[in-house]
Symmetry: C2
Subunit: 449 residues, 2 copies
């Protein structure tokens, strides 16, 4: 993309309404614009990041054997009355009345709707196990929306639902989700620690939240610092392997890590060596639940078991906050000059800065680098505006592309351009072709993971 | 995907509520399930087609130089009061009141919101031309939703908005959209004829609707049959070339083609030779508008021109009915046995039918074909259930995959499998590797277009 043809309305000043750094930087980098309280338009740069996160979530869900579908945003109140949650949900549910005066709502979650689909179509244990998921816009009518997309009213979320014959099978689904979530976050450059949590209005006994450590997080967390040393990395995972998924789950959840909802101070102090006790803050970016037959029983979602008897299915639900992750990644990865995107989610793979737009050699070199990167399937952002170099660098730093190629007449006389890492700030001079190859090599592994 | 692990709830009986063939086939093929009146869940097979259509729309929009972004579904009523449309829109607008008693609405279209974004960030003619678009769920509270996703209440639509300094520039944007839309539809295997139409509540003078001819279409159309001979094909289009875009627009709109809204019988009879006069029905799958300063003037979306004077921008809006297209494609492409997907949008590239699940040679051959197709980046659906061949064939015909590879012990003894075209019904016997190569060749051009 050439910047002269793009829509990147960066702001020079810090917007007064933004209290936390991710909100401030998303506004300043031209990623979002508030449409109304807690509701945002995703401007082109923000939309690209949102789609990248969505793509990674899809890829990892499909890898784990889960089946994508899509439920609507507007739901009928009837199903929620059946589960008993319509009246219980409170004022955070956006209630709607249609032209025929029917009670509708903008879905905050989808347990009822998915259970209705299941019971209409599945009647035998032979069709299990089954995990369906979707990524759809949700609405929670927060009384005081704040922190930009981190606590907005309209938000983009992946929610998945497993249907299993037995509790044992459903716990495998739980573990499978835990493992696939860790891989999902790691691909985004995030460490999200599974912490024992409270199940809230979803219900059930077993639940873990995934928390990204950040000073601005709204949750207080307590953990054994050794938990931050554990990585999934590129391990081969067979998601059908019950033992392997359980072992990974145990590895990631054996050490003490809890939110304030479930924190047990006595146990914390007893179980964790003093030098490894951490009290910090975190941002919740996902949660998994096993809730057994909480919805299948009242809603009649049963299957015929191998013995011919009808039994309610065991279920769980599993969510990742896709739009919230955009903010969480920025909270975890930025500096005074702006955002620093991890390679896995960056809106453009690299920036190209032309130090002297209009200079024949500089223009030609930039065009060549742009064409070469594009031909390799990469997506560069070429700042081809007639602006001062300082302004171009500031914009690139603000929007946080992990790599920048700087092209100017002086370097070209020596046959070199400059390749700069946004994270380290380090630069090296090298021929244009070598810079292109280096960028290609950086992004090559991403497709193979 | 192995069918044993998928969720494909096909129906044996014809659902009573479906009046038209696409609705009937989408229900029977397990593509959708009604959630409430005019609101559907997209089951896994339907979701895949929806995503394929969305992808093609994105690719062609980006090719035309338009910039993707995303606006929210829930909007504040304020902006609609500014444009004067809040009261004018009528009961099809789903009006919502939030917990703070603020008037909100589920957006049926986005002229106001995009104009607000534009006026907040763009102030100079130097930032023009600019075309922003998004693909988002919309809601129109139809009094009698019907025909499944063809006339639902919650629907998925691409809507784009151009901002130009002059009427002349805006008309180029109009032509550019017309050309890119034709290419978009052709990639989906559809002929959609641009017809002069009425602008309705969007406003403006210039507007064309794109209509797919189908007996079940809700619009009456009148056209010169020669218009159906025109194809864009693989012509190179330079979307910056004003003359080329205008020439293509003229080529596609010179012959008589109008909906009943603008039909002029006297002119039709005079202008079109009798043997080429056609009166038929069509499904509207898109519409483009030029409406000048209708929104920019009341909402103050102005830029400073080259002469320093402030002028309202010239705008147009351009829509493609993404979810409706799923139905329209089926209306245009089916037979008594089910759907016939065009290769461009098919949910799976081919089906694999194992005639004797459990037979060692047949299972191994199917596994091999599945692995080979997958390794080539293709997405096959392998019916690995222990069902009779007749049932497997009926399912494959119903869900409409364009190609089927049939594998059985008898053929394998001679080293062959059967490759069958869904459209022609013709089969040929060939070695498994040759069948894989043939499927790969069929889909290869699609990526290069």
């Amino acid at each position: 993309m050439r910047l002269s043809r793009y829509f990147l309305p960066v702001l020079k000043e810090n917007p007064a309404e933004a209290q936390i750094v991710s909100h401030r930087l998303m506004l300043r980098a031209g990623m979002i614009k508030q449409a109304s309280a807690g509701i945002y338009s995703w401007l082109p740069l923000g939309y690209k990041v949102l789609r990248n996160i969505e793509r990674i979530v899809h890829e990892e869900q499909i890898r784990a054997g889960h089946v994508p579908m899509l439920m609507p945003t507007v739901q009928s109140a009837e199903l929620w009355r059946e589960s008993g949650r319509y009246d219980a949900y409170g004022p955070e549910m956006l209630r709607i009345r249609d032209r025929h005066d029917r009670d509708m709502l903008f879905g905050p979650t989808n347990e009822e709707l998915i259970t209705d689909i299941f019971r209409a179509h599945v009647s035998s244990y032979k069709d299990l196990p089954l995990t369906l998921y979707h990524i759809q816009w949700k609405f929670r009518d927060e009384i005081r929306p704040r922190f930009g997309v981190m606590r907005g009213r309209e938000f983009f979320m992946k929610d998945g639902y497993n249907f299993d014959l037995t509790k044992e099978d459903a716990l495998h689904a739980y573990n499978r989700h835990l493992v696939s979530y860790i891989r999902t976050y790691e691909r985004m450059g995030l460490q999200a620690i599974p912490m024992r949590a409270d199940s809230g209005p979803i219900g059930g006994d077993d639940t873990h939240e995934f928390l990204v450590l950040a000073d601005t997080g709204e949750s207080e967390v307590f953990y054994d610092s050794a938990v931050t040393d554990i990585r999934l990395g590129n391990r081969e995972i067979n998601y059908d392997d019950v033992g392997q998924c359980r072992a990974v789950m145990e590895e990631f959840t054996a050490l003490y890590a809890r939110t304030d909802e479930t924190h047990d101070e006595a146990r914390f102090v007893e179980q964790v060596p003093a030098e490894r006790q951490r009290r910090a803050r975190g941002i919740e970016v996902g949660q998994i639940f096993y809730f057994g037959t909480k919805y299948s029983e009242p809603m009649g979602a049963t299957v015929q078991g191998p013995d011919g008897k009808s039994v309610p299915v065991h279920m769980g639900s599993h969510g990742i906050g896709v739009s919230r992750l955009v903010g969480a990644i920025i909270e975890a990865s930025h500096d005074d000059n702006g955002i620093i995107w991890p390679e896995g989610v960056t809106p453009f793979h690299c920036g190209i800065v032309n130090l002297k737009q209009g200079d024949e050699a500089a223009d030609a070199a930039c065009d060549g680098i742009y064409a070469a990167l594009t031909a390799l399937g990469l997506d560069p952002l070429y700042d081809d505006r007639k602006e001062r170099a300082g302004g171009k660098f500031a914009t690139m730093d603000l929007i946080g592309l992990p790599w920048r190629i700087t092209v100017g007449p002086r370097g070209l006389k020596n046959g070199v351009v400059e390749l700069t890492s946004r994270r380290s700030g380090e630069s090296e001079e090298l021929p244009p072709e070598a810079a292109v190859q280096k960028i290609a090599a950086i992004y090559a592994p991403d497709t193979g993971v």
